[in-house]
Assembly symmetry: C2
Homo-oligomer: 600 residues x 2
């Protein structure tokens, strides 16, 4: 039965004829010469069938052309290519350029929204923006100030525009949107300002709201059904969120949704994660704080919750659970399974059945992880699916105003927003990771709307007793739950990976290097110093029969916040400034696109 469904899904994707799915997205993402949504495809695999650039010739790569975005600070996400046009976005003020690939990157149109710069003050982790999406002839952009705008992809004309949140209470946006069916899904940032997380679906045709699903609160506002929404194989039960909070704390309890969406057109389910519970001081919010830190599977048409899995109940370390969920089909124990693979901030990589939400594998993807010994995998256990927390590293057990030291990973996790990629050819996941530990001292904090609601002082440093660097780029086997190879990096790898059919994997470094490595062995095959630190995601496209690789440079994001915001106090930038101080020896602010090609 599963096999049959799976084949059907594949057929639907190939023909682009799914009754549920947005035909445009399926059609456009199926063309390997294009890159139509930020995640590459609905499955978030960030894999390309293009194979002109191979492990044999990638060493000859050279820069084809470049483009300055005219904006500094952290450049996350990457360009899209639809037909002959490349779409490039910037951090705040979220400018968009349409570049003519047939005419030396000439600017066909530019969209330069006027946004109140006050919003910058309520963005936790730099003015980043993970980019626009394409669907049905529209470029859809979700600005920092939570304006959602749909532009005519050919002319840049604004088709419709709608406000999705309120920056006055700390609601902002940094995430890309996901067009699914006849809707577009958007999240909200603000876990450090006590927002109440949710995702909202807007109708692609006119921007009217279709449905909204909160991360916390009453069942009906979460679109949860006590009987049919599942949690680790059991019905979730009534008031599952309300029961896990003290009083009304859930109303300012975070669970924001600033990560990535994936979508299975066959199951018609969307997947995404929720962020940290607010505040960072765990003593102020006893309970599991559901459904923060949770992978959510929802019906794309109605938003109804199919299943939830909370990775870090009662978070004590800011391990937001928003990282991308990569959808792959793989044999496990002789059976083909529809899988979802998630590399969580908390340092565990989860392999789940994406139809049922069954937990199959949960293993550390960095040996430095020490806050928990393991995830309880025994379905009969009281603590099934929960991490086994080590008391020494429990900031809740150690209590307010106590500095818990040596916790690994640091708050920015073993992996943060930087998306991994998956190669169906090697069957491996390629994961940009952080190798950073922290000291964490929670303190009592009062909530004021629109003001930081953090409640902890942090400092960060490279994982001790290791290679001295703050990152690794790893290859991961999601069935075995094992690292295949690991490349040490001086700084966290804060850029998204790309795997290609040429058996090459690309990623960028905070110093600014674009690197290409052998997909099998991890051997470095190419390295080029781009203008600024890379926190963007590498993509590839083909134009006039030639394959190109493109990436945005522009140091920033949480890891680069010291440079981006000009901070020097080690504890500033939510504790990231000190750990990454040496970055200023390597790079400066930027905002550039670099496009690579093979010589003719």
């Amino acid at each position: 039965m599963k096999h049959l469904l799976n084949s059907a899904a594949v057929a639907l994707i190939l023909t682009g004829a799914s009754a549920y799915a947005n035909e445009s997205v399926l059609t456009e993402t199926a063309k390997p010469e294009q890159w139509a949504i930020q995640t590459g495809d609905y499955a978030n695999q960030r894999y390309s069938e293009l194979d002109q650039i191979t492990r044999e010739n990638v060493g000859d790569l050279r820069v084809a052309w470049t483009f300055s975005t005219g904006v500094l600070r952290g450049h996350e996400g990457g360009p899209l290519v639809i037909g002959d046009i490349m779409y490039v976005h910037t951090p705040f003020p979220n400018n968009i350029f349409a570049l003519d690939l047939s005419d030396n990157g000439r600017i066909l149109w530019r969209h330069t929204p006027q946004q109140d710069p006050e919003v910058i003050a309520v963005m936790c982790c730099d003015t980043v923006y993970r980019g626009v999406a394409y669907a049905d002839g529209l470029i859809i952009s979700h600005q920092a100030d939570t304006t959602l705008v749909a532009l005519d992809a050919m002319t840049g004309e604004v088709k419709w525009s709608v406000q999705t949140g309120d920056p006055a209470i700390g609601e902002t946006n940094t995430a890309t949107v996901m067009p699914v069916g006849d809707k577009v899904l958007v999240g909200v940032s603000g876990g450090e300002y006590g927002v109440r997380g949710r995702i909202t679906a807007y109708n692609l045709s006119d921007g009217t709201e279709a449905w909204k699903a909160y991360s916390t609160g009453p069942d009906e506002e979460m679109l949860v059904n006590a009987e049919t929404t599942m949690h680790l194989g059991e019905p979730i039960g009534a008031d599952s969120s309300l029961n896990s909070w003290e009083g009304d704390q859930w109303k300012i309890g975070g669970g924001s949704t600033w990560g990535w969406f994936s979508y299975d057109p066959d199951l018609n389910l969307v997947y995404y994660g929720t962020g940290n519970p607010s505040t960072w001081n765990p003593s102020q919010r006893p309970g599991d704080n559901r459904w923060s830190m949770t992978i959510m599977a929802r019906d794309a048409d109605t938003g109804e919750a199919k299943w939830f899995y909370q990775k870090t109940p009662h978070d004590e370390w800011d391990y937001d659970g928003v990282n991308e969920n990569i959808l792959v089909d793989k044999e496990i124990d002789g059976e083909m399974r529809k899988l979802l693979v998630n590399f969580d901030r908390n340092g565990f990589a989860y392999t789940m059945d994406r139809e049922s939400g069954e937990l199959l594998v949960a293993e550390k993807f960095d040996p430095a992880v020490n806050w928990a010994t393991e995830v309880d995998m025994d379905p009969e256990s009281e603590t099934y699916g929960r991490p086994m927390v080590v008391s020494e590293y429990s900031t809740a057990q150690n209590g307010e105003d106590t500095n818990t030291t040596g916790v690994c990973p640091a708050a920015l996790g073993t992996k943060d927003q930087q998306p991994a990629s998956y190669s169906p050819k090697t069957g491996l996941f390629y994961v940009p990771t952080n190798h950073v530990c922290m000291d964490y001292e929670p303190f009592r904090v009062a909530y004021t709307a629109g003001q930081p609601y953090v409640g902890a002082t942090l400092s960060m440093y490279p994982a001790p007793d290791s290679h001295g660097g703050m990152g690794n780029f790893i290859a991961w086997d999601a069935v075995a739950g094992e690292i295949k190879w690991s490349l040490p990096e001086q700084f966290s790898v804060w850029s998204g990976a790309l795997a290609t059919a040429g058996d090459v994997v690309f990623y960028g470094t905070l110093e600014g290097f674009l690197k290409a490595v052998d997909a099998e062995t991890g051997e470095e095959l190419y390295s080029f110093k781009t203008p600024s630190g890379i926190i963007g995601n590498t993509m590839t496209y083909e134009h006039d029969g030639k394959q190109y690789i493109a990436v945005l440079s522009g140091v920033g994001g949480w890891a680069g916040i010291g440079l981006a915001a000009g901070l020097t106090n080690p504890n500033d930038g939510l504790g990231a400034v000190g750990g990454y101080a040496a970055l200023s020896d390597y790079t400066e602010l930027g905002g550039q696109l670099t496009v690579f090609e093979l010589p003719d």
Copy 2:
């Protein structure tokens, strides 16, 4: 006798043993693998002996590495290379980076001055900076706010710092300094704010003032000697400046000194030009307005004036006379002459004897030039050395509040700050030019210290009845006074040229292309789209035995002021915004270094 002197000078340059010259500058600029001062050498030839990159292989050029400066807006000037270190500067706030060429451009030190951003309001033509100079182990920088600072070249430590002007009365700096002897020479900007131009020499050892020479005013303040300072072969006479102004207008009469310095170590003379008389409304300042618009030759030790030549007496078009004076030795009529070649804003290229100030050639270097028919070359004539002004294009004769139309060139001249280069191999000058005309309507304006003192409304457009573009890149024969070849460009060529012993000439375009052309024929051999419009000056260096080409991108300057300052009204930016409006279809603000190499 002239022959003898000339050979002696060459010998002195080669041995670096001149009693007058700064040995460090002579030694460092004599090494072809380096680029020690902005002009390449004291002669301002912008020529390099490096010849690995040739007209045969330049087509294979590729990007070696890149660096983002972290600053947007117009990037003029270029990097220096001394030993293994490259020095990169930025526009306001005039940051400086020392990059390790032996370690992937790692940042050895950075200098990030804190300047009052108020100074930006009194910079006429973008926040540009034409770069730092090296001498005696010091990096010398002259900031926008007229702070002159000497840094230890190895550590970035501030050795001394001195204030050279007062931004409160519109005095700013955009020019590079010139180290000569045991001094460093600096100019001042502010012709559009009624400053009184001068150059000042500071002692390299401690920054104390050595001498100061005004462009206008009493003889003693100009360091002019009525008997020994010459003007076209005659003693200049007493009160030569005071006699040429009405009342005290000379005190707010401009003649600023924001261009380039050159130096002949044999003659021990420095050469530079003075800018427009203030205001732009000629009716407010009857007379020749001496010594605005003048090439000046001064003794490097004392500042004493040797000779002056005023190219545009009583300017009516803002044709600042500050362009670089290129020193070459050439045979004219069978005799070796020490020449000075100047491509003036007014559209005439002057070839002079640099020892005596004799005028040898004055010819139009753009056929579009129409404001004057010719320069009177008859030594017996009353108007010897003066341009023959065409009444139709005389904004003074047409008078206040009359729009004089169709004047060629526009105020930004046939060439502005963008320096030309000279190849001793071809004997040709390579000149980045503007091909722009204007309408000019003067109006009465009152002087208020620190406020714009312009008094004219301008609009600019491509030279009519020509190729439709706004620029040409030309090769010039300075003895014949003839264009050898001319390459049409869509926009003004606002970047400095570089000629090399590989018979290749490099220049950048406002769209962002770095171009390489054949030094003999002008044939385009290579073109690459850098991140942003190029107004920087291409340079070359050798490291570890390999030749590199480097250039700063970052659109701006007067031509790019619309993009740089976000102006859209066609008459804004002193009239430049309208003419260059189409630039926004090609490029965005930037600030990047791109370094090129041949494949191994």
